[in-house]
Structure formats: C-alpha cells, structure tokens
Amino acid sequence: MSKVVFHTIAKFLLLMLGVSLVTFVLVSLSPIDPVQANVGQAAYLNMSEAKRAQLAHYWGSGIPLWERYGSWLGDLLRGDMGMSLRYNAPVVEVIATRAVNSLALMGSAWVISGVLGFVLGITAGLWQNSIFDRLVKGYCFVLASVPTFWLGLIILMVFAVYLGWFPVGFSVPLGMSAADVGLGDALHHMALPALTLSVVGVANIALHTREKTVDVLESDYIRFACSRGLSRKQALLHHGLRNIALPALTLQCASLAEIFGGSVLVEEVFSYPGLGQAAVTAGLGGDVALLAGIALVSAALVFAGNMIANLIYGFIDVRMSLSQPCLANEGEKASHQLKSSISRDGRPQDGEVS
C-alpha cells in the first residue's frame, strides 16, 4: 500500500513540475508585451521612458526564463505562488476567493449532471428502443455537438433577458455589501451557469449508463432473477444497479477536466467571478503568475478526480487490486476503456465539447 501511495505522490509531483514548466516556457515564448497589453496603446505612446522602464520592471520583463522559473519554483515550495499583477494581490488569495465560487458551480453541476444522467440512462436502457430511449439518445448526440458557450448564451437570453427570472451575471447582486449577501442570492446567481454546465454534462454519463444497462439486462444473472419471477425492473434495481453505478461514478470522477473546461466558458458568458474567468483575464493581460497558478490548480483538480476514480475502482472491484500491485495504473486504464467504449459508439473521443 505504501508503495502505491509513494508512486501516486511521485506521479503528482512530476505532473505539477511538468505543468508549471510547460506554462512558463509557453508564456515566455509569447511575443505579447504585458506592459503594452495592460496599459493600452494610446497611454503607452504618451508614456515617459522612465515610466515605461518602471512598468517593465514591475511586469518582470527582461529577466531570463530560467531565473524567473527558478525563483518562482523556490517560492512555490514555501507556499508562495507570487503576486497576481492584474488583481494586485497574492495569487494564493485570488485563487482562494475564486475557487470558492468555481467549486460551488462545478460541484453542483457535477452532482446534477451525474444524477440526472444516471437516471436518464437507466430509464432509457430499461425501455430500449422506446420513444423515451430515442429521445434520450437524440438529446445526447445533439448535445455533444452544441458549444457550451452558445448554450449559455441562449439560456441567458431566455431566462435572464426575456423572462427575467434570473440575474444576467455575476455571483452576487450589484451594489450590495459582501456581508448582506445571503445564500439565496448566491444560489440565485449560480443557477443559470450551473444549469448550462449540467445540461451539457448529462450527455456523456447518460449514454454510458444506457449502454451499460442494456448489457446488464442481457446478462445471465438478470435472466436468472427474471426466471425466478422478478420483473425486469425489479431485477435491475436489486441486482444490476451496483454494477451500473460503479463505472458511472468512475466516469463522472474522470470527467472533471471537461467540467473545468466548460466552466471557463460558462463563467465568461455569465460574468461569474470564478477561476475560469480569472484564467481568461490572466491570459489576455499577460499575468504569468496567476496563469501558472490556475494551470497548476486545474491540473491538481483533474489529478484528484482521476485518483478518486482509481481508488473507487480498486476498492470496489477486488479483482483489480489483487491482480495488479499498482492500482493507480489499472484504474486509469479501466476508466480509459470506459471512455473508449463510449467513443466507439460514434461519439467524439474524450467527450470534452466546448
């Protein structure tokens, strides 16, 4: 067991190192001058030479890549992720405040899409080829082709602009002090972005659960249960549910990367102040430290999702942890197999559709 833990930690550290290095190299390659990008063309032209030099120093241009990366890495080991130059605050602080918003949004979308997709998939599989089944399948295929941000725009237009049921954006009412914001206000503002993310996320899990349900219903043990006098529905609920739920849960854990990607777009559409919006702002404004911080946090999130998926697989399916000493790898393969079994069904691979 300790070997597995050690292996996982080593893998995580290597991944973090890789991600941060890729981020730094990419950002330093950029021809975009952060000073010009932030000050604006007109102001930059009218600026005095001394002021320009001061700003260039502030944005850290001119220092070689390795020196910057080295000092950043050293600080990171001490828990300091540097200063966000756009928000004029420590990166840790910016990420922490925004992560609360983002995690609430992604968490609710994750749960809603998981539960809804699972129920839809089971129902569709149970009554295979019925009208309901065709509706669910059609919905999933179309949804895989719909860009998340466009769906967000349409939902925003219908529910916020025309019907006026929900606010147009942000996470709290405008002009209200932070202390007065209640949970109701926050939920009211989160509803539309969460709805958009959930609607998109349902497709993957519903299709997978449907396939799995059809497989399970054809299995010998369900046939045996039916021959003992149980109805198909009873047999499925008593004997099949566990077999269907586990891979679905694993798949949902492994889909965190897609949900994060979707949240970047959705937050931008709804002006929701989360990590995704901060990533876009940092990218447009050349805020290296914040961009690197968010890349790290998102990669860590994805890693955690995959790790949980592996753990669930290892714990529940004893065959997996007995036959292979290194369960981390196996779970990954299994969840990949799940994915490829879906993609074999005519859906694009890795399901992340924006």
Partner: protein, 281 residues
C-alpha cells in the same frame, strides 16, 4: 411461410451509411466553397440596413454595422471548417507518429510518450489552448497551432493500443518467424490494420477542432475580430443580447451545431463501414 425470411424493401444499411458519408462531405464542401465565394461580401457594411431582424432578404438578419448575418455566418463557418480540417490533419499525423513510436520504439520511448499523453490530458483542454494561443501571440496561428498540438493524445492512445494488439497477433508472429524484415511487417501488416481506425479518428477529430476553435475565438484568444468567424460573431452577439437582438446569437450558433453534426454523422457512418467489428450491423 418462412419465419426468418429477411425483410424486403429496406435499403441496405451499408448503402445508407455510404450515402450519409458522401452526403455529409458534399454538404461540407459546398459550404466551404460558398463561404469562400461570399467572403468579401460578408464584410461589406450597409449602415442604412443595420439591426434588421430576419427577413427574406436577410435570412439571419443584420448586425449593428449592417452586415448580412447569413453571409457572415457562411464565411465564418468556412474559415472554421478549413482551419479545423488543417489543424485536425496535423494533429492526427502527430497522433499516428507518436502512437506508433510508443508501440514500436521500446520501453523508454513508450514511457515518455505515455507520460506526455498524461501531461496533456492532465491540464484542462481549454486552459492548454489559452496557454498555447498566448505563447504564439493569439490570432490565426495561435488558435491553429493550439488545436493542432492539443488534439493528438486520445487518438495516439488508440493507435498505440491498436498497434500493440496487432504486434501480439498470430500473423505478425508468423511473418516474423518467416524472417520478414521489421519494415516490411510494419508496412504490409500493421499499417493496413490501423488505417481504418486512423481515418475514422481523424474525421471524428474535426468536430472537436471546430468547436474548440469557436470557443477559443469566443474567449478572445483566437481569430481577430475583423475576420468573419463564428466565435467572433457570438462574442459580439453577447453584448447585444440585452437589447433584444436574438438573431445575432441564435442562427450562427445553430449553423455551427449543424456543421458539427454533419462531421459527426460522416465520421460515425464511416466507422460503421470500415470497422470490422461493427460493419455487420
């Protein structure tokens, strides 16, 4: 009466699939050609005809500069399709090379390729696209290179697995025992084995590439605002939503969905045709 007599009067499934593939591809080519032809017209401004709702003359309405949204959408889609096709091709070739290297290049190469696949898949796709696009100074090349460099991992995994499976198969073993050279085995046995998967994977990359292009452009990291692109159109539309100009967002988005569905239809029909495990359905 023979109970298990085959149903007559139905068109053969394979023919339906073939028709779907050809139909979808023809529709896409027509769209691209039409978009290129009307490209100049799409950027023409008519300030006497601005903000018009959809009508017979302007099926998708006009925007705040009096540009015809139908022509703009067509031109934007053809740019997106062309960019998506080129980027997906590059990405697929990368996937093929890396997948083959991992499967045939020995343990160390395999570990390296597998680790970079994990690394690429460990960062959310959009974040990676933002980073690459930023590194190249945004614009056309930012988004094109970004899409080409980020779409290979899943296909590379498939190719690697297919080649490994082929490598372990009996007939490759026989060929090796008969003393055929490695190159000959790779060319005559492995290449034809993975080719169908590769082509299907390539076509199924297109919808992804197009959707990501639109998304990255929408966020402001892709094509510049003066070009007719779906992402640009939709991000402009966002600022006009509250003034009730619904047509700016609805029709271009629907057109994008239609194009992506066409690619998806072509890819999955082709898969049914070439995949030996499924082509009897």
């Amino acid at each position: 009466m023979i109970l298990h007599e085959a149903k007559r009067g139905r068109i053969a499934n394979r023919r339906v699939c073939l028709a779907a593939v050809i139909g979808a591809l023809v529709a896409l080519v027509v769209l691209v050609v039409f978009g290129c032809v009307v490209y100049d017209q799409a950027t023409l401004t008519h300030f006497d005809q601005k903000n018009l709702p959809p009508s017979l003359e302007h099926p998708f309405g006009t925007d705040w500069m009096g540009r015809d949204m139908f022509l703009r959408t067509a031109a934007g889609l053809s740019t997106s399709v062309l960019l998506g096709v080129v980027a997906a091709l590059v990405s697929a070739v990368l996937a093929f090379i890396l997948g083959a290297l991992a499967a045939l290049g020995g343990k160390r190469v395999d570990a390296l390729v597998s680790w970079s696949i994990d690394l690429m898949m460990g960062i959310p796709h959009i974040v990676l696209l933002i980073l690459i696009s930023y590194a190249l100074g945004k614009g056309f090349w930012g988004v094109a290179v970004g899409i080409a460099l980020t779409h290979w991992p899943s296909l590379a995994r498939v190719i690697r697995a297919e080649i490994l499976q082929c490598k372990a198969s009996l007939y490759v073993g026989v060929a090796r025992a008969l003393g055929q050279s490695r190159w000959r085995i790779a060319l005559t046995h492995m290449f034809p084995y993975v080719l169908p998967q590769f082509i299907v994977g390539l076509i199924l990359l297109f919808p992804h590439a197009i959707l990501h292009e639109a998304a990255v452009t929408f966020l402001g990291f892709g094509l510049p605002p003066e070009q007719p692109a779906i992402g640009v159109i939709l991000s402009e539309a966002m600022t006009y939503l509250s003034s009730g100009m619904w047509w700016l967002a609805v029709f271009p988005g629907l057109a994008l969905v239609a194009v992506v569905l066409l690619f998806d239809c072509a890819g999955s029909s082709l898969r049914k045709l070439v995949d030996p495990k499924r082509n009897q359905e």
